[in-house]
C-alpha cells in the first residue's frame, strides 16, 4: 500500500504534513525504471528506513572533468554586508542554503514557516528573502502578498524557490511577480546569479589579473609588438583610449575592442586580441568596473 499512488497515512495533522501521496509511488517507478529495487523497514514510533539498491552500476571515470563553460563560483565574488531571510518548512533545505550563504559571508536568518518569517520581519529587515512556495499553513504566495503590501517590507526583493515546475497559468503568473525563481535542487550558479542581482558585492578580478599577468609575461619574454601594429595602436587606438579614459561611450568602447582584436589577429599578437575581446565582453555585460579597469591597462602596451 505504501508504494501505491494517492495513498496516505490516515489521522495525521494535515497542517504538519501535506502532500499528494505520490512521492513513494514515483520513487518506486523511477527506481524500477533504472533496474533497482526499493525496500522499507519501519518501526512505529521509531522511524522508517528506505533502502534503494542498484545492481551493476557503471561508474564514469571522468567525473572530475570540469565543465568547460566558465560559471560563476563563490570564489569569483565577494559579498558585502548583507542579510538573507530563508523561509522553508523543510529543515534540510534551510541547512543546505544557509551553509552556502554563510560560506559566502552572508548573514542568514532562517524560518520554518511563513508565519515565523512575518514575525521576524517585524523587527528585522533583510536585504533579500528566499522563500519556498509549498508550505503547510501560509504558502509562499500568501507570504509574498503580505510582504509586498506592507510598507516597511515592500521594497525587499523576494526570490521564490520551489521543487515543482509549475505549469499552471495561475501559479506562473504569481511566480512572475517575484524578483527571481530558483528551481530546487538549487544550482550554485543560479543562486549566485540571484544573489548578485540584489546584494552588494564585488567581483574578484581573477580573470583580469590573469590576463594582465599574461601580457606582462610576454613582455618579459621579449615578444615585441610588430612595428605596423604599434603604428595602428599609436595612431588609431591611442586617440580612442584618450577619450575612453574620460568616459565610455558604448559605441567607442566597441570600436576600441574591435580595433585591438583585428590588430592582434592581423599581426599575430594573441594577448592583444584577448585583451580586445575582454573589453568587448565587459561591454556586452555592461560590467563597467571591469571595462574601465581594462581600458586603463592600455598604456602598459605602449609604454615599453
Amino acid at each position: 500500500v505504501l508504494f501505491e499512488s494517492f495513498t496516505q497515512e490516515e489521522g495525521h495533522d494535515s497542517k504538519k504534513q501535506s502532500g499528494t501521496g505520490l512521492g513513494l509511488a514515483i520513487t518506486k517507478n523511477l527506481v524500477s525504471l533504472l533496474g533497482g529495487t526499493i525496500t522499507v523497514t519501519s518501526k512505529q514510533g521509531v522511524g522508517s528506513t528506505f533502502t534503494v539498491s542498484f545492481p551493476r552500476v557503471k561508474v564514469s571515470d571522468n567525473q572530475y572533468v570540469k565543465d568547460l563553460q566558465p560559471e560563476l563560483t563563490w570564489e569569483d565574488i565577494r559579498f558585502g554586508e548583507a542579510t538573507v531571510l530563508l523561509v522553508d518548512d523543510v529543515e534540510d533545505n534551510l541547512k543546505f542554503l544557509s551553509r552556502m550563504l554563510e560560506y559566502a559571508g552572508i548573514k542568514v536568518i532562517t524560518s520554518a514557516s511563513a508565519e515565523e518569517a512575518l514575525n521576524i520581519l517585524q523587527h528585522e529587515l533583510p536585504d533579500l528573502i528566499i522563500t519556498d512556495i509549498r508550505m503547510p499553513g501560509m504558502d509562499g504566495f500568501e507570504l509574498f502578498e503580505i510582504i509586498r503590501n506592507s510598507e516597511a517590507t515592500s521594497n525587499i526583493p523576494i526570490v521564490a524557490s520551489s521543487a515543482s515546475v509549475l505549469h499552471n497559468l495561475n501559479t506562473e503568473e504569481k511566480l512572475a511577480r517575484f524578483d527571481g525563481y530558483l528551481l530546487k535542487p538549487i544550482k550554485t550558479t543560479e543562486l549566485i546569479n540571484s544573489l548578485i542581482k540584489y546584494l552588494p558585492h564585488s567581483f574578484n578580478s581573477g580573470e583580469i589579473a590573469e590576463l594582465t599577468s599574461g601580457i606582462a609575461e610576454t613582455d618579459i619574454q621579449g615578444i615585441s609588438i610588430h612595428p605596423s601594429a604599434l603604428l595602428i595602436l599609436q595612431q588609431q587606438a591611442m586617440p580612442l583610449y584618450e577619450q575612453l579614459k574620460e568616459r565610455q561611450p558604448i559605441k567607442k568602447v566597441e570600436e576600441f575592442g574591435k580595433l585591438l582584436i583585428d590588430t592582434g589577429n592581423k599581426w599575430n599578437n594573441k594577448p592583444l586580441s584577448i585583451y580586445g575581446s575582454e573589453i568587448l565582453q565587459t561591454r556586452k555585460s555592461f560590467n563597467i568596473e571591469g571595462m574601465v579597469r581594462l581600458i586603463n591597462n592600455f598604456l602598459s602596451y605602449l609604454t615599453r
Binding site: S154, N155, P157, D179, K197, Y198, P200, H201, R247, Q248, P249, I250, S285, F286, N287, I288, E289
Partner: protein, 136 residues
Amino acid sequence: MPPDMKKNKILIVDDNMNNVQVLAGILENNGFDLEFALNGPDALQWLEDEHFDLVLLDIMMPVMDGFEVCRIIRDKEKTHEIPIIFLTAKTDRESLMRGFKCGGNDYLSKPYDQGELLARVNTHLELKQSRDQLKP
C-alpha cells in the same frame, strides 16, 4: 522593432556601477540605445554633446546630486523638455516631492522591477512624442 525605426536613446546616470549594469542590461535587451554617466557633471556633458530621448537619474550621488542635475537640465533650452525619471532607493515621500518639484517626471524605486521600468520608460517616451506633435 522594425530595423528602419529609430531607436530611443536613454542616458543612465548612477554612481553605482552595478545599478547601471542592471538597468543597461534590461534596456538594451528591449531595444534601447544607451549611454551611461557615473556622476552629474558627466551626465550634463553628455546631454550637451548628444541628443537623448530620456534620462534615468539617480538621486544620491557624490559631487552633484540628482536634484541639482535635474534643475540644470530643466534650465537649459536644449534639454528642458527631456523626460527625467528619478531612481530612488526608497519611496521616501519627501525626496519624491523634491524630485517632482525640481522637474522630474516620474520615479522608479530600487530594486527595479523589469516590467515597471519598461512601462514607465515607454509611457514617458510616448508622452513626450505626443507633446511634440501637439506643438504648432
